[in-house]
């Protein structure tokens, strides 16, 4: 099913802006849905999730820019937590710190090392940043017990695996999206 969207914008710059906002809105909607569904997956460690929504963050970074990625990440955590009902709960703050840290790290590494790494490498860096930020938040705000760091190997190993999976997913998604007519003007 092909969707044709017409815009009333006349200037190219306006059209660019509209297109960007529309695409980001779609990505935020998708990411929120993924975030919500993923919260239903049980896990021995409550806040440790695959983070599949990060695939959409990295898609935004790859298709657009750093701020696009940050926007998608921030908004999907907001919307997702409102839907789940975990807004402003401890797990919300933990997830927020991880998501923002991940988006920032991925955005910066893509900007400077985008040529060196494929999206897999960027995603792995983001996953690590997310896990570090989450453990850090848990330690600083909730459990000031250095024994929390005993979870470190589990997090790092798990982060590596999910980073790779998300990166591969991101690569597939971006390469497919670039072929769609709606995204033809986005390099």
């Amino acid at each position: 099913m092909a969707i044709t969207m017409r815009s009333h914008a006349e200037k190219t710059s306006d059209l660019e802006r509209v297109r960007r906002n529309t695409h980001l809105a779609l990505l935020v909607a998708l990411a929120s849905a993924v975030h919500t569904i993923e919260a239903a997956i049980p896990s021995p460690i409550p806040w440790l999730k695959f983070g599949f929504a990060n695939i959409l963050t990295i898609t935004a970074i790859s298709l657009y820019d750093f701020w696009a990625g940050l926007t998608v990440a921030f908004l999907r955590i907001m919307v997702g937590s409102l839907i789940i009902g975990s807004f402003l709960t401890p797990s919300f703050f933990i997830g927020l710190s991880g998501g923002i840290a991940s988006a920032v790290v991925m955005g910066i590494s893509y900007r400077f090392f985008g040529g060196l790494f494929s999206l897999v490498g960027i995603s792995v860096l983001g996953a690590y940043a997310s896990n570090m930020a989450q453990i850090g938040t848990v330690y600083l705000i909730f459990i000031r017990h250095s024994e929390v760091f005993m979870l470190l190997p589990v997090f790092l190993g798990f982060g590596l695996i999910t980073g790779i999976i998300n990166g591969i997913g991101g690569e597939f998604l971006v390469s497919h999206i670039r072929k769609l007519p709606a995204f033809r003007s986005v390099v």
Binding site: F113, V120, G121, V124, I143, M150, L151, P153, G157, L160
Partner: protein, 119 residues
């Protein structure tokens, strides 16, 4: 799809993950031990002072030794002597216990003995 830099990154992070296993299980040397018998706290003792503690439990007296910053059960009136077989403990959070005699030795650490505090 995977560039060389990707593979280097993944390889080095794998090594880092394996390395973090040794950091995580390191634990911290405890400063004091707390001995409880039959659910009641008998006392808190320093791990830095060598000594022998005779603790009276429900079955009899268990002897707990503190030596070189570590503590262990020396003798106990239980049947299995599992407490003695546990060996020495010294990291904060570690615990040795003689269940039949209801004697528990817990190593206290710098972070205090609380898992979480709300203020």
């Amino acid at each position: 799809m995977l560039t060389i830099s990707d593979k280097i990154l993944i390889a080095s992070l794998t090594i880092l993950t394996l390395f973090s296993y040794s950091i995580a299980s390191g634990g911290r040397q405890g400063d004091e031990i707390r001995i409880e018998a039959d659910g009641k706290v008998i006392g808190t003792f320093s791990l830095k002072k060598d000594g022998l503690h005779e603790i009276k439990g429900v079955l009899g007296a268990s002897r707990i030794e503190v030596k070189d910053g570590k503590t262990s059960f020396l003798s106990s009136p239980c049947k299995n002597k599992l407490c003695i077989h546990q060996g020495e403990i010294n990291k904060s959070g570690q615990m040795a216990a003689c269940l039949p005699n209801r004697v528990v030795v817990r190593v206290l650490g710098g972070d205090g003995d609380y898992d979480a505090l709300t203020r």
